[in-house]
Symmetry: C2
Subunit: 452 residues, 2 copies
């Protein structure tokens, strides 16, 4: 603590504090022994009584001495040895080095985001002194919620009031709150992406969880599990962006009505539809009766910008007022203010168009390069949207061999085990984390190591 | 959706899409009816087959039509009326207007924080493109964790490695993760501040919770409840900043050892000790065996800057590796980067000294003004640290009357019901949210309305 001491405002009282502390620690003053009265001590040392008082207060606060009413201060009994231990501090084995070509990562393409513009918005947001010195609205800044309401209403036809919108630092934070509102609703089914992070939140809350990649058209999966909640990605059911058909949507919603099942609609990557227009959100079809709509900006803006939001159905609003308000806001106020203005000024919509263009051409280009490089050895499969390029390669290698050879060459990729079949291995590459200029060399390299 | 349409990249295919969609919606094409083949349709309309294909894909995606292998596209059966509903959007009754003098709020004094300096750090943080386009470390940026390790080690003697530090957007986010690691440890006891937000997290996770303002010196409270965890504020046990004596600390730690009880040390406002030096943290006394140390920056920097951290004991590290990694980071990466540099450059320590000075003089001044204004009608009680000025006023008014009269006058204050006694009402005012210049007029006003 030396440093702290040197900087301390009052060295004098500390000197006296240290003096007695040492006497006690060295055993020169024994438990029960009386300290000189404040008056006497002050006289002896030619310092003010307040100084001595402070020293004694400090010694007492730390339990070295205690005062006996009307009599004075006495040394306390404390076994100091008992606590002389050092923590065996925990060391993790360092993380492995970055791959040369990362076709798995979910980073966004720097080209897709205008950092200069965002810095300007953050800069002006950081001028809102009055709002930044306070805790802000636990539910999220009101003006941001209004902006979000208008945005999702126009883009996704979501029907709601700002009071139904809850802002949070990422989907998991929102699900944490949602669990507190719906803990009577068990079990919950997940379909589409496995979304382990989402399942973890519900699992840790004691929910029973069932996962199936797709539920049968007749929804038998939900019926047999008696699902009270369903977590689904209607705009992006598979890595390559299949959407839920209108027919299934309507069936799902009438099931939700009949069985009192809440549907959590994670509108993940709905903006990244390349060839078809976004399909209306479940929330819009249902008028917000049974659907909890979840939206975020990880892909659209930056993953490091931790702002997501959920739209609660009216039936959850009362319990949110009761339980939700105990959850402080997790998203940074400054970033909320910046995002609000960013949306108001129409930049979010521009950003969507820009990002969509970039990723559409990138995923097309990656597909083209794969066909060109692998020729008849690969079948590139259609990609409806998103960032992933799915393709099959004709090979006798095992999945393990493929992954090993690739990673030896510095290529990180994902093999879809379930979709691979005799003689064909199914790969899914994300185009977002690798620069377009590197597609050719990385795929040629991959071909070499797989077909050497 | 008009707006979205206008902006769409491919109006031509949409035209055709709309054409058939309307035919179907208007019933001019009935379920089962066949659409013209893509070839024929393309010829008739003099557009490319791809365009027609896109239109049909869109219609199919939305469930208006379906394809029959080898035969073509047919109109599907869908009941569109079923879903024509509008959500009764939820309206909250507006929040009441801001009080004139808020002596309850936990906002920080704008004078205590150098916004210009922070803006500079944020600006440079926002230049780390490569780090901002990625998700970042779920546990918190590594360099920030190193900076935090050094800071808590120097300031609070906390012993740990960066691997033991978990960063999150506020204490609740951290407790949410902690619950997942300790859900076998029931019940949990809370002492000191009631900290409803903290209790809510554990309650919603199904923990049994017991609260007592203070546990008896012999820790009988913990013993009788068979506490498996204790949540406590050793540096700030009461609103006016009493600290836990060294004696109690040592007893507590040996109890924790014997009974395998984890202690959550919320080091809330440890920096704001005015007359005595900070007491060593429990974690430092215990060498990090049984103590989870929690620190934050709401008061030190800005409440709107959502960054807190916890130091896990070694015994929780393995389960954290297993379960914790499913929880994404909630704190903004940009703000983590800025804070890291801010700490490295020594600004945090400067900030502590600056803020401590400000709040020390403010709380002293408020106490002085109260004595001066209320004279013999009030007893100002000593304040060891923090932001709160406790005092008693001699009155026959009921607590309710006092609160009503005050709020009518635009003064928001807190009455400590449990501490009030016959003829004396116990008030606790926070000095942080009101400017020093307003102390005199607000207290005079309060006196007038209470003693008119």
């Amino acid at each position: 603590m030396e440093k702290v001491e040197k900087k301390n405002e009052n060295p004098l009282y500390l000197e006296i504090y240290e003096y007695y502390k040492n006497l006690i620690l060295l055993g020169r003053m024994k438990a029960g022994e009386k300290l000189p009265s404040i008056r006497r001590c002050a006289l002896e040392r030619q310092v003010s009584k307040t100084t001595i008082e402070s020293s004694y207060m400090q010694l007492a606060a730390e339990g070295y001495i205690h005062s006996v009413a009307g009599s004075g201060y006495y040394v306390s009994e404390v076994n100091f040895e008992e606590r002389k231990r050092i923590a065996p501090s925990y060391q993790q084995n360092k993380k492995q080095e970055k791959p040369l070509y990362d076709f798995v990562s979910s980073t966004v393409d720097p080209k897709s985001f205008d950092f200069e513009l965002w810095r300007r918005y953050m800069k002006s947001a950081l001028r809102n002194t009055e709002r930044l010195v306070a805790y802000g609205d636990p539910q999220g800044e009101y003006d941001l919620r209004v902006a979000l309401m208008n945005y999702v209403n126009e883009a996704r036809r979501v029907v709601c009031s700002p009071e139904q919108i809850v802002v949070g630092a990422g989907v998991q934070s929102l699900l944490g709150i949602l669990c507190a509102l719906t803990d009577v609703r068990n079990p919950i089914c997940f379909t589409g992406h496995e979304f382990k992070q989402g399942q973890a939140v519900f699992k840790d809350r004691g929910f029973d969880i069932y996962y199936r990649r797709t539920f049968a058209k007749d929804l038998s999966f939900l019926k047999e599990k008696k699902a009270k909640m369903l977590y689904t990605f209607p705009s992006h059911m598979t890595p390559w962006g299949e959407v839920m058909s209108m027919k299934t949507r309507l069936e799902l919603l009438s099931y939700a009505d009949k069985e009192d099942c809440l549907i959590i609609e994670d509108d993940y990557e709905s903006e990244f539809r390349y060839y078809t227009r976004p399909v209306p959100s479940l929330q819009s079809l249902d008028g917000g009766q049974k659907v909890i709509y979840i939206g975020g900006f990880s892909r659209l803006l930056l993953p490091s910008l931790r702002i997501a939001f959920m739209v609660l159905p009216v039936e959850l609003m009362d319990i949110y007022q009761e339980k939700g308000r105990y959850y402080n806001q997790t998203a940074s106020t400054a970033e909320q203010i910046a995002l609000c203005q960013f949306i108001r000024d129409g930049h979010l919509k521009k950003q969507i168009r820009k990002a969509r263009k970039i990723y559409m051409s990138k995923s097309q280009e990656l597909g083209r390069v794969i066909s060109e490089v692998f020729k008849e050895k690969a079948k590139v499969l259609p990609n409806e949207g998103g960032f992933l390029v799915p393709f099959e390669i004709k090979t006798t290698l095992s999945i393990k061999e493929i992954e090993e050879r690739a990673s030896k060459a510095g290529i990180k990729l994902r093999v879809a085990e379930k979709l691979s079949h005799e003689g064909w291995i199914y790969l899914i590459l994300s185009c977002s984390g690798v620069e377009e200029e590197l597609f050719k060399e990385s795929m040629s390299l991959l071909k070499d190591v797989l077909f050497e």
